[in-house]
């Protein structure tokens, strides 16, 4: 674990140089620990795949004093797989909303049903949230369906779209431009300031996608 200066009032801790569950797990442990401590003078704590970014009040910390504090914490690996509550996200995998299902299936010479089964069998971990509010980057998508981003992003990806890019997946929390492969759509609000924690997902969450049919999707408020 080493740190570098990010800006005059922030530092970034590096845990490794590869996208790996073990490294991300250590990042998320420190993130959760610091977040729960609620230290005065720490104003932003943002995890990514291999890094943890911490912004601080210049009048309370310096880069060195903050890193000394971090080093003094015992970062323990929580035993996640047993105890974790899995957050389920219902998804309608119809071809009218999952507009890339067919392409992804053909690229891997499997059927659309197999794509859906592989996508819904896995449990995903939220590694980081970015791009826009509530956009959770989740890993890992099975190599059997992993598909690169579109060469030309679409100017509009509908809100709720469930999509993959290489070995990552995400749900678009709002209408935005985007280049990920769209497999389906969820009626769940991913980002809304009326939600308890504003974002449906937070870093470290375990997620499973659950297939629903069109009627259920519509009855849950989904839009076509």
């Amino acid at each position: 674990m080493e740190y570098r200066v990010a800006s005059v009032s922030s530092l970034i801790v590096y845990f490794g140089d590869r996208i790996e569950d073990e490294i991300s797990g250590r990042v998320l442990s420190l993130y959760e620990q610091l977040k729960s401590m609620g230290l005065e003078g720490i104003v932003e704590i943002i995890p990514s795949y291999t890094t943890l970014y911490i912004e601080f009040d210049l009048f309370k910390y310096s880069h060195d004093s903050l890193f000394d504090l971090i080093k003094s914490l015992r970062v323990e690996m929580p035993n996640r797989s047993e105890s974790d509550k899995i957050i389920e996200i219902p998804v309608y995998y119809g071809i009218e909303v999952g507009i890339d299902l067919d392409r992804v299936a053909k690229a891997h010479t499997i059927s659309i049903d197999e794509v859906i089964k592989i996508h819904t069998d896995a449990i995903y971990r939220v590694h980081t949230i970015g791009f826009c509010a509530g956009f959770a980057y989740m890993g890992r998508v099975d190599k059997k369906i992993a598909t690169p981003r579109l060469a030309t992003p679409r100017s509009l990806v509908p809100k709720g779209s469930v999509a993959i890019a290489n070995e990552q997946c995400a749900v678009y929390p709002m209408d935005t431009p985007g280049g990920w492969n769209i497999l389906g759509r969820t009626p769940v609000e991913m980002f809304d300031i009326s939600l308890k924690n504003f974002s449906y997902l937070k870093p470290g969450d375990a997620v499973k996608f659950v297939p629903i049919d069109k009627d259920e999707y519509l009855s849950l408020g989904g839009k076509i």
Partner: protein, 304 residues
């Protein structure tokens, strides 16, 4: 609540305060006033909390009709302020009567002007801030017919910012950089080139970041997406630096040389396309001292 009625909204006028701090982990960008120095003065002139919500206007061209007795101040870019058709000074507070018309012309120098009202604009707080961030669907730009809420104030004593604190909008800007992030992974030639070459502000400049043009800075290799600080100097694959500002995304995958200190980010947010900028490396300890002095000044300074 009464307020100021928008008759002409201008190109991009947003209610902003010090920004939305502490939600970066759920992808919410900080946003906030792009030239906080000017915004703080606009508030101090009205004896508001220094980071109260103000109206940030890109270029200007805004007209408002007051539906309340209040007081206002205009700082930032060099627009002309007119109250009921009569020109009034910027960097100074003015009493306003119900029915008064406020016109802010297109700026001749600088990019963003700041209009404050007594007590600050009372728009809806979202996640602890009134800053509007269209990209996160947290509020939207003002539109014709909007009422910008503010309370009544009839006992304001007008005040002015001393001339020495009013910024100039220079054609050549020096941006002080605290080295950081991938600094050590750039070649010494690339670092030297970056700090020795002039860059020009391009038209691809907004609240998210300022894209510059000049000598291309090389970086070999790739980095894994990581969180981005305010002022971070990002080097994309074409080698043309981008200084990331208030509406930057929370994470990004380009290498960064370090971060421009806040005071110089405020100045950069006022720099028009064509402005020449030069980067200057300063030690982190010195950057911290300059920034602490600035924050003390902005928070505590009383009006002379």
């Amino acid at each position: 609540m009464s307020g100021l009625l928008v008759e002409k909204p201008g190109i991009l006028s947003l209610i902003e305060d010090a920004g939305r701090i502490g939600y970066g982990d759920i992808g919410v960008c900080q946003s906030g006033t792009a030239d906080r120095y000017s915004a703080v003065w606009a508030n101090r002139l009205l004896f508001n909390d220094p980071d109260s919500a103000v109206l940030e206007m890109l270029i200007g061209n805004v007209s408002l009709i007051s539906q309340v007795d209040t007081a206002i101040a205009l700082t930032g870019a060099e627009s002309t302020l007119k109250i009921n058709g009569q020109e009034r000074s910027r960097w100074r507070s003015h009493r306003i009567k119900k029915g008064d018309r406020i016109d802010i012309s297109a700026a001749k120098k600088g990019l963003r002007s700041y209009l404050s009202v007594a007590g600050g604009f009372g728009t809806q707080e979202m996640l602890g801030s009134r800053s509007v961030t269209p990209k996160d669907k947290l509020g939207d730009r003002i539109a014709e017919g909007d009422l910008l809420p503010c309370s009544s104030c009839t006992d304001h004593i007008p005040s002015a910012v001393p001339q020495r604190y009013i910024p100039d909008f220079l054609d050549v800007l020096t941006l002080r950089v605290a080295a950081g992030y991938q600094y050590d992974e750039f070649s010494s030639d690339a670092i030297e080139l970056f700090f020795d070459s002039p860059y020009e502000v391009t038209t691809a400049t907004d609240r998210m970041g300022c894209r510059l043009q000049g000598e291309a800075v090389r970086f070999d290799g790739e980095i894994i997406s990581e969180p981005i600080s305010y002022g971070a100097v990002q080097i994309p694959s074409d080698g043309q630096p981008i200084v990331l500002l208030n509406e930057r995304q929370t994470i990004g995958g380009y290498p960064k040389i370090g971060s421009v200190i806040p005071m110089d980010c405020y100045r950069l947010a006022q720099a028009r396309p064509g402005t020449t900028v030069a980067f200057q490396e300063i030690p982190v300890v010195e950057a911290a001292k300059i920034t602490k002095d600035l924050y003390m000044f902005m928070q505590n300074r009383t009006i002379c």
